[in-house]
């Protein structure tokens, strides 16, 4: 990682932590909190997205699972920290089951299955009214001050970012890259691909479920539409794709852009928020296409230069051969 990028990253993360501590109340406090939650979702989404090439359209499943586990524990009479530990354990177990189930799928099938699972959880939370409050949602009393929620969320973001960096630089990160390139080849050289996928997906699922838990602690309300929300998954996808930078700089900068855009869209363009998100998605995808066009053009240019070089070399060799004879 270059020094410029590291310092930029440090500035972003420090600014987030400091502002989380200073602005915990009012509109700004909520904005900073949603920025941090979106950051956790985007960075955790990016772990399998970047290393394994897996796009989870149902990343919000883990978010909703964490929120509902925490809400149910609180409504059953647990205090904050026991509820936090219990719901973290339960949602981690749930995430492990889902991860083991989906680890065998690749690319498009994986995206499809995660989207299916998101809808299943949404419908289940609507059906189990006695536990989840059904479509009306689940209310819990205030369990933690806004300042503490913001600080815990900031710490979680730092931990998730640290995990992302450490994972991508570790042995397992390289295994993931190899698995993405070719699973058969990776297995042939002794990489336990199933284990690699499970570990990577779990590293993505746990921060997302913790984010859901903190979201409920701060807002005191979760519904099937806000917990298991496709928009949340799309926001994470957008944030991780919109800035073509390597490492966690991409998702973090993307989150800054997307959350600000989200605020503007919600307040100024009510009723067209999905359409504007769609436009941004389309723009991000087209940009990728344009990049590939440029790469193709560069490749042709390089090939042409190489051909010119080889042909001139060949001419020279031919001349020297004639002279020698």
């Amino acid at each position: 990682m270059k020094i410029g990028r590291v310092s930029f990253l440090t500035v972003i993360l420090s600014a987030l932590v400091v502002s989380a501590a200073y602005f915990s109340e009012g509109y700004l406090g909520i904005f900073i909190f949603s920025l941090i939650i979106n950051g956790i979702m985007a960075v955790s989404f990016d772990i399998p997205g970047r290393s394994l090439g897996l796009i989870s359209l149902g990343h919000a499943t883990f978010f909703g699972m964490g929120a509902y586990c925490f809400g149910i524990s609180i409504s059953q009479g647990f205090t904050f920290y026991p509820a936090l530990i219990l719901s973290a354990l339960v949602s981690a177990a749930g995430a492990l089951v889902i991860t083991l189930l989906l680890a065998g799928l690749n690319h498009g099938y994986y995206s499809l299955a995660t989207l299916g699972i998101l809808i299943i959880f949404q419908r289940i939370s609507q059906t189990l009214e006695s536990f989840t409050g059904g479509s009306a949602g689940l209310y819990i009393p205030e369990t933690l001050s806004n300042l503490h929620c913001n600080l815990l969320a900031a710490c979680l973001l730092l931990a998730t970012a640290g995990c992302h960096v450490l994972y991508s630089r570790s042995r397992w990160g390289f295994y993931s890259k190899e698995t993405e390139a070719s699973e058969e080849a990776a297995e042939a050289i002794g990489i336990p691909t199933r284990k690699v996928k499970t570990l990577c997906l779990m590293m993505s699922a746990i921060p997302a479920s913790m984010a859901g838990l903190l979201y409920l602690a701060r807002t005191s309300y979760v519904s099937p539409a806000s917990g298991f929300s496709l928009t949340l998954s799309i926001t994470a996808l957008l944030a991780s794709r919109i800035v073509p930078a390597r490492g966690i700089l991409g998702p973090l900068t993307g989150v800054l852009l997307i959350t600000v855009a989200e605020e503007v869209i919600w307040t100024k363009f009510e009723g067209f928020n999905h359409a504007l998100f769609g436009l941004i998605l389309l723009g991000a995808a087209w940009y990728q296409g344009l990049e590939s066009l440029e790469a193709g053009f560069n490749f042709i240019k390089k090939g042409f230069r190489a051909r010119v070089y080889f042909s001139s070399d060949f001419e020279k060799n031919k001349e020297s051969e004639i002279r020698r004879r």
């Binding site: 690319h107 099938y109 067209f272 389309l282 991000a284 995808a285 296409g289």
Partner: protein, 283 residues
């Protein structure tokens, strides 16, 4: 019970029509077109709006709307397939998935703006037949027949025409097909056009049977995608049969469980199927 079976078959016919179009796009171009269901919703809205001008029957309107949907398919191709042709296979799948999701979201908001939140229903009265003591709703039976004819015509198109053969060749091996002089761009463009026509027809028929919300596009797409994955990509028979099965599962789930748990049962079965059949070891 038999009444539930019949009802499931009729619903399955519409799903089959929707899935067959998606199968063409998925099998030939490898594109997970998430905007496919939105085209169906557009079909329903266009049909409803046209009824204000003239009381078209769904069949006549389907014929009239086909060229419009063909053009929409071509535009969709330029939006979600053509820009990514230089990417690697897996990268282009992801890029077109993201782009089609973008298109679906844009269309959803446009539909709400144009049509409002009110569900789209174009139901009209049609005689009910009595067959061996069973009450068969005439409209559903005729629509199922029309869906079957549309699927049959598409199969004939793929098997008997040059363009159809080109599509099948492209689905089997892109490079070899190109060597034989098949233009991949033009062929995939016409495949997406045909897929869009099927989606439009499915939307028109669906709205004549059940009310369709302006934001139901993604839900329809997802069901169609699962049918395609279950039935097999690139062929039309598999998704058609799987579509009928999905209709039956939905009907029976609604009969045995509560209406709200239908989606849970359907999606659970589909995810299980996906995991078992499309896990890497079985590909």
């Amino acid at each position: 019970m038999i009444q539930v079976l019949i009802s499931g078959l009729f619903l399955g016919g519409v799903y089959a029509l929707l899935a067959v179009g998606l199968s063409l796009a998925f099998g030939i171009m490898g594109v997970l077109n998430l905007a496919h269901g939105s085209l169906a919703v557009l079909g329903a809205i266009l049909y409803k709006k046209s009824l204000v001008l003239y009381p078209f029957s769904p069949w006549l309107f389907s014929v009239l709307a086909a060229p419009i949907f063909m053009c929409l398919g071509l535009i969709l191709h330029l939006t979600i397939v053509a820009p990514f042709r230089n990417l690697s296979a897996s990268a282009s799948v992801v890029a077109s998935l993201i782009a089609s999701l973008g298109v679906a979201l844009i269309l959803e908001d446009l539909f709400v703006w144009w049509q409002g939140w009110e569900p789209i229903s174009t139901y009209f009265s049609f005689p009910i037949f009595n067959f061996l003591g069973l009450k068969i709703p005439g409209l559903r039976a005729v629509l199922l027949g029309t869906a079957a004819v549309a699927i049959g015509l598409s199969t004939l198109f793929l098997k008997k025409t040059d363009r159809g053969r080109s599509m099948r060749a492209l689905a089997q091996d892109k490079e070899t097909a190109s060597l034989y002089g098949i233009h991949p761009g033009m062929t995939s463009m016409s495949a997406l056009g045909l897929a869009a026509i099927m989606a439009g027809l499915a939307g028109i028929f669906y709205s004549a049977l059940y009310p369709l919300g302006p934001r139901d596009g993604l839900d329809l797409t997802l069901k169609a995608l699962f049918i395609v994955v279950a039935g097999g990509m690139g062929n039309l028979r598999g998704p058609a049969v799987a579509g009928l099965f999905l209709g039956l599962i939905e009907s029976f789930a609604g009969f045995f469980f509560t209406y709200t748990s239908t989606d849970t049962v359907v999606y659970s079965l589909l995810v299980i199927y996906l995991v078992i059949k499309r896990g890497r070891r079985h590909q």
